[in-house]
């Protein structure tokens, strides 16, 4: 591997760092599992680093990186057994196209999420945190809350709906940034 110049390496690392969350969200939306998404992101980062010679600071980084991430996701899909996947290869390529078309919406949402989380009741926030950050199972949450699993699912569904609406409102007020 030819040694790239320092300034180009710096630009590369900057771009790579800035795009981590979006690459992660992109990969996660296809593989639906946090630890797998982290693995694929790691692999994507390594491939990107190996391809640093192809990197052109003038070109949009994210589009380039997303293309490589997509390839890594597809490789991951081929590697996993069918029974280990939520979406099959055919659906994954449909989704990848849809996801790339909607990338801007996803970015804007992230910026408003914290504010919208702040507007939730503390118990709602806790439930969201337990499920989506601590990855507690629905069964665990249902036991903890002394409710049925169906009731917990419905609560999560409703809280998320109001979060999504809150984000949509905020995005439409400020307009898209992409």
């Amino acid at each position: 591997m030819a040694k790239p110049s320092d300034s180009r390496t710096e630009a590369f690392v900057t771009d790579l760092a800035k795009s981590q969350n979006r690459l992660y969200a992109y990969i996660y939306s296809l593989v639906a599992d946090h630890s797998r998404a982290s693995d694929v992101l790691q692999e994507t980062n390594l491939v990107l680093w190996r391809k640093i010679d192809d990197f052109d600071p003038q070109r949009p980084f994210l589009a380039w990186a997303t293309g490589i991430a997509r390839f890594q996701v597809m490789a991951h899909f081929r590697d996993m057994g069918r029974d280990q996947l939520l979406v099959d290869e055919e659906l994954a390529s449909q989704l990848a196209e849809d996801a790339e078309a909607n990338a801007c919406v996803a970015l804007d949402g992230q910026q408003h999420l914290k504010q919208c989380l702040g507007e939730l009741h503390s118990s709602q926030r806790k439930l969201i945190e337990d499920r989506y950050f601590h990855s507690h199972s629905i069964t665990h949450l249902a036991n903890q809350q002394e409710r049925t699993e169906g009731a917990v699912r419905l609560m999560l569904f409703r809280i998320r709906k109001s979060l999504a609406e809150c984000i949509r409102r905020a995005v439409s007020v400020e307009g898209g940034s992409c």
């Binding site: 800035k18 630890s35 996993m80 999420l113 036991n143």
Partner: protein
């Protein structure tokens, strides 16, 4: 527009799949809907995109695997690589309008990422010390995330109890050490000891039915209870159907059967309050009982008890009884162990009992491995070298175990030979999952056919074997490993509880199966591209990972925070029955 039913179908498919519970029929319906509807795909993508954002939003950055894999690099950079920083300049370009927290998240992401990228390069030896990352940049940007756990009392010991139910759940009999959340606790016979977080220690004899309400309140329907309440826990209350017993720093007992009860005070002072009067204030309706007094309650009247004596198991005799049972468990295990040690599938066995004259050597104790299995190695070659880890009480009476707590703590092993199927089994007490990857047993280099067995920070078991390259050098583009991740089996309320963990790699069936407490947790088929037929171990580490790198002073922090008692390697795929037997033979209670 999607109907709410369609939205729910998608959401439930995702949630059930993530919990490993999605049924085929539901899965098919989900796939058909998404393939045929761009609206459905849009909904799915938005849903998962919000999941990813939520995952990040609670501590700024995906704190688990991403950080983990780069911790090697982070650590290496912390350990004195010159700090001419890529990231500091990179970070200045990060969106200035972003909020502080978002910025902190990005800072960490950038630092972690740069560390990971740089670490990768450092590992390849292509860039050595000209780029680096200042350690203080990392330290200053890490956000603090507080874990929470719900619990009121610790289940500290169990004697002769076949099964315990807490609300709808049946607690594992080996759940001694578990922190119990509020709930209705029932069991039919035997006795348990609870240590309430307030400090009250209570022995309960079955049949018992009680609610654990808080760290200083329980509601007793049925059962014989003997409580020791030290001054620090004064005010501990037990509610009965017709009155509340408030302890004022003492030892007392209650035998409750619905609305009838007997209250006896052995030491100190107890107050009896009418229902609803839950305070410790000495209201008019409160009756005081002092040492040696007892009262019978029948419906809502109190009176002198009948002549018949009620025997309560006090803490001391409970402890004696428990010691007796533990003694029995120990001797039954020692007998069973002899049988396991002579099992010809056993490759290496470590009891974790250290000898006084060689305290830093962990002896390998496989019974009589056949000569071809040892391939010319002598058993003592497989003795482990203990680094850092210290002796700690084991799960069985009088037996010792090894405690791993600090990043250096580990046992170094070298196990020669080539094998096919492998089974790894250990008794483990997890205190917390502090690291993104918490090691159980990891081979050094993770080369062809070498296994890695660990626990992810989110409480999943994780096992993988690196496929062979057929002698070709590994360039990073060869066949990757198949990662068998179990469903979540651990959460912080199980901290301190002994568990039997096992994993079976079956080379013939090409499956990996995880087990907890003798029961199959998950079974994973290894896809053809990840096929592994020959396994080997070589240099390996128990309770930690020693990274294959030069110079060797850099290492990923993957130490276990907990205790390992017994570790066994079988050069064979043990059956579900075998694993269950191993668990039943060795369980502590």
């Amino acid at each position: 527009m999607l109907t709410q039913e369609q939205e729910l179908l998608i959401v439930e498919a995702i949630e059930l799949w993530q919990d490993g519970k999605l049924e085929t029929e539901h899965h098919e319906a989900f796939l058909t809907l998404l393939k045929g509807s761009s609206e459905a795909r849009k909904f799915y993508l938005e849903y998962l995109s919000l999941n990813a954002d939520l995952h990040h939003s609670f501590d700024g950055v995906d704190g688990s695997e991403l950080v983990a894999d780069s911790s090697f690099a982070t650590e290496s950079l912390r350990q004195g690589t010159p700090s001419r920083s890529i990231t500091s300049s990179a970070l200045r370009e990060v969106e200035p309008k972003a909020s502080r927290r978002y910025h902190a998240a990005l800072t960490l992401a950038a630092a972690v990422l740069a560390a990971s990228v740089i670490g990768f390069v450092v590992r390849l030896g292509q860039l050595s010390d000209e780029r680096g990352l200042a350690a203080n940049e990392l330290a200053g940007s890490e956000s603090i995330k507080e874990e929470t756990v719900r619990g009121v009392a610790l289940l500290s010991s169990v004697v002769d109890v076949p099964s315990i139910r807490l609300d709808e759940r049946t607690l594992s009999v080996a759940s001694t050490g578990s922190l119990l959340p509020p709930g209705r606790l029932t069991f039919d016979s035997g006795a348990i000891q609870l240590e309430f977080l307030s400090g009250a220690s209570v022995v309960i004899e079955g049949p018992a039915d009680l609610d654990l309400n808080s760290m200083d309140l329980a509601r007793l329907r049925t059962g014989k209870v003997r409580a020791q309440v030290p001054p620090a826990a004064r005010g501990f209350r037990i509610e009965l159907e017709e009155l509340t017993v408030v302890d004022l720093g003492t030892e007392f007992a209650i035998d409750a059967r619905g609305s009838d009860a007997l209250v006896e005070v052995f030491d100190g002072l107890v107050e009896l309050h009418e229902p609803g009067k839950k305070d410790t204030d000495t209201s008019v309706s409160a009756t005081q009982l002092s040492a040696g007094q007892r009262v019978a309650i029948r419906g809502n009247s109190q009176g002198a008890p009948g002549a018949s004596e009620v025997e309560f198991v006090d803490l001391e005799s409970f402890a004696d009884l428990r010691r007796e049972r533990r003694q029995e468990r120990l001797s039954s295990w020692l007998t069973a162990r002899e049988r396991w040690l002579s099992d010809e599938r056993l490759l290496a066995y470590y009891s974790m009992n250290l000898s006084a004259d060689r305290p830093r050597t962990l002896p390998a104790e496989a019974g009589s491995p056949s000569a071809d299995l040892l391939e010319g190695w002598s058993l003592s070659e497989w003795n482990g070298a203990i680094v850092g880890a210290s002796a700690s009480p084991g799960r069985l009476l009088g037996e010792s175990a090894l405690e791993f707590r600090h990043p250096a703590d580990r046992v170094r092993l070298r196990i020669g030979g080539r094998y096919g199927s492998l089974t790894l089994a250990a008794w483990v007490r997890i205190d917390s999952l502090d690291r993104a990857y918490n090691s159980l047993f990891l081979t050094d280099h993770y080369d062809d056919g070498e296994p890695h067995w660990q626990i992810l920070a989110n409480g999943r078991l994780y096992f993988s074997v690196m496929p062979q390259l057929g002698g070709k050098p590994r360039t990073g583009t060869g066949p990757s490993d198949f990662k068998a991740r179990s469903p979540v089996f651990w959460n912080p309320s199980m901290s301190g509880r002994w568990m039997h963990l096992a994993v079976v790699f079956n080379a013939d069936a090409q499956t990996i199966t995880h087990y907890v407490d003798g029961k199959e947790l998950s079974r994973h088929d290894i896809p053809e591209v990840h096929r592994v037929t020959t396994t080997s171990i070589g240099a390996a580490t128990l309770g930690n990972w020693s990274v294959p790198t030069r110079p060797e002073d850099f290492f990923a922090i993957r130490n276990l925070n907990g205790v390992i008692d017994e570790f066994a390697i079988f050069a064979s795929a043990l059956s579900n029955t075998d694993i269950d037997q191993l668990y039943l033979d060795g369980k502590p209670d």
